[in-house]
């Protein structure tokens, strides 16, 4: 199972991850940091798993503050 964590202290809600993988990331209601969508787990378990996971890794690499951690 792929685990995606966002360090909400490091995150500055730059929105880079949301732009890259809107199906998995969103900006929290208050706009202060990004969070993982509730439906992300089912999305990642779906048929587009490989493609989506590759995008999640791209988001992890692209986060300007290094706030995203992805582990298997």
């Amino acid at each position: 199972v792929t685990k995606i964590e966002i360090d909400t202290v490091l995150c500055q809600a730059s929105g880079t991850c949301v732009r890259l993988v809107p199906a998995v990331f969103e900006i929290a209601e208050h706009g202060e940091y990004a969070c993982v969508r509730a439906e992300a787990e089912s999305q990642l378990a779906g048929p587009a798993h490989d493609e989506l996971l590759a995008s999640v890794h791209e988001a992890e690499q692209s986060c300007p503050t290094g706030a995203i951690m992805v582990s298997a």
Binding site: T8, V9, L10, Q12, A13, S14, G15, T16, V18, R19, E26, I27, A28, E29, G31, E32, Q61, S62, C63, P64, T65, G66
Partner: protein, 462 residues
């Protein structure tokens, strides 16, 4: 606190963009946010800066606009070797805005140790609180028999923020009034570099360039170099004594420890020189506007006056002030590195310069409501929208100092404690002296803000 100030150095009204570069002007919040988040639109920082070169005697010469310029790091070395460089790059060689893509992310992440939770806690407890208390105590000592102190908020705020900024980067000798004044004067001289971009060739331009370059050299030699040397010794001693955990969490110490890597030998020193001014001016502007907005607000909303030392209320007030005043009438500039079609359907061709009208974006009624022009410390915005708009930018180049200005989690930033302390002392405009702003069209900045404080009220906080 940092990168946005860099970008506003390009303050240009739309009509002043060079005619030969295609320009798209954006004034809506949604398009602006999308553009700022796109990796394919790089910051246009410094593109308008004057190309300069130096002769063998070190005399500066203005080159023709549009000529090839040095674009990598080691700008000063390149200039000494006879290459043409951009004027701004002599001051912002290591600016994060000069890089983009992977290089930018790598450098940005390298600076994380300066802003993570432990560093921020250290900054709050070791720097913010004592600096504030030391400066307030000095004000209290000026009180007349009736308990009133009359000060100018602008130099007071400058002193507080220059001391905090010096502590953040690790410059020594600034925690006294004399030390702070010396550094403020130097920073002011260096800040003249911005004027250079708008002056025609001639004696005034030459004088401004000489003055600002000399100030930069003194900042480097008198502050950056000796402070770094001291930190290297401190780190060595701490390692020998097993007391590394007691070292400060400032930029130079983290660099001396190797916690923040730099690509050039003096990268940390150059970064310190860059971070310092960006941590002062913007904070002074925000604080003065935040206090002015609230003082005026209480005149028409006396029912809220009891909240003037409530941290949550002040935080909301601060955010709406940043929305309304952080942009001035400045423009954030981006350059499209490929053809782009925004969600709105707007097409932006590769090479187009995109000017984001900061003020208009943060007053977008579709996002901030029909009263977007008005100040409202209790403003509520929609999901996913930052209440302070694009005041800190957005996307990969979002202001790196944001956590220190606003705070993160339950760790306070630099502004609210200061606002709270001044309201606790009954801050009000000095009835005998008028506040004054800079006359320039594109700056919304107080240069004088005389206030009266009442020391007998100190301690009146929620």
């Amino acid at each position: 606190m940092t990168t946005q100030a860099d970008e506003r150095a390009t303050d240009l009204p739309p009509e002043d963009f060079p005619a030969d570069i295609p320009v798209v002007i954006i004034s809506g919040f949604a398009e602006a946010t999308e553009i700022l988040r796109l990796g394919s639109l790089r910051p246009g920082y410094g593109d308008n800066s004057i190309p300069v070169s130096f002769d063998a005697d070190g005399e500066i010469h203005i080159a023709e606009r549009g000529c090839p310029v040095h674009k990598g790091l080691n700008v000063h070395e390149a200039a000494k070797a006879g290459e043409t460089v951009r004027w701004e790059d002599l001051f912002r060689e290591d600016a994060l805005l000069r890089t983009d893509g992977e290089a930018h992310i790598r450098r940005r992440r390298a600076l994380n140790p300066l802003f993570v939770r432990n560093a921020h806690l250290w900054f709050r407890d070791t720097i913010i609180v004592p600096t504030l208390e030391r400066n307030l105590q000095a004000v209290r000592e000026t009180a007349s028999a009736d308990g009133l102190c009359r000060i100018d908020l602008v130099p007071f705020a400058k002193q507080v923020f220059v001391q905090m900024a010096a502590a953040l980067v690790g410059f020594d000798g600034v925690d006294t009034t004399e030390g702070a004044s010396k550094l403020i004067e130097l920073e002011k001289e260096m800040d003249q570099r911005i004027r250079a971009n708008s002056l025609p060739p001639g004696p005034e331009l030459e004088q401004v360039m000489k003055l600002s370059l000399a100030a930069r050299e003194r900042l480097y030699a008198d502050y950056a170099v000796p402070s770094m040397e001291r930190r290297r010794r401190l780190v060595e001693e701490a390692r020998a004594n097993g007391t590394e955990d007691q070292l400060p969490h400032d930029l130079l110490t983290l660099a001396a420890k190797g916690d923040i890597p730099f690509e050039t030998n003096d990268g940390a020193l150059k970064m310190a020189i860059q971070l310092l001014p960006n941590s002062i001016g913007t904070n002074v502007t925000i604080l003065t506007h935040a206090l002015n907005d609230l003082i005026r607000y209480f005149e028409t909303h006396p029912e809220d006056r009891d909240f003037d030392t409530d941290p949550d209320f002040l935080f909301g007030a601060l955010r709406d002030t940043i929305r309304l005043h952080s942009g001035g009438t400045g423009i954030l500039v981006r350059v499209a590195t490929e053809d782009i079609t925004l969600t709105s359907g707007r097409f932006i061709a590769k090479g187009t310069r995109v000017g984001l009208l900061h003020d208009a974006i943060d007053r977008d009624v579709s996002v901030f409501g029909e009263d977007a022009e008005q100040y409202d410390p209790r403003r509520v915005v929609g999901n996913g929208v930052r209440p302070y708009g694009v005041g800190f930018g957005n996307g990969p180049h979002i202001c790196i100092g944001l956590p220190l200005v606003l705070g993160q989690g339950n760790i306070t930033g630099v502004q609210v404690p200061l606002m709270r302390a001044l309201f606790a002392m009954g801050i009000r405009p000095d009835p005998d002296r008028q506040a004054r702003k800079r006359p320039e069209r594109f700056r919304d900045t107080f240069v004088e803000f005389p206030i009266a404080l009442n020391v007998s009220l100190a301690g009146r906080t929620k």
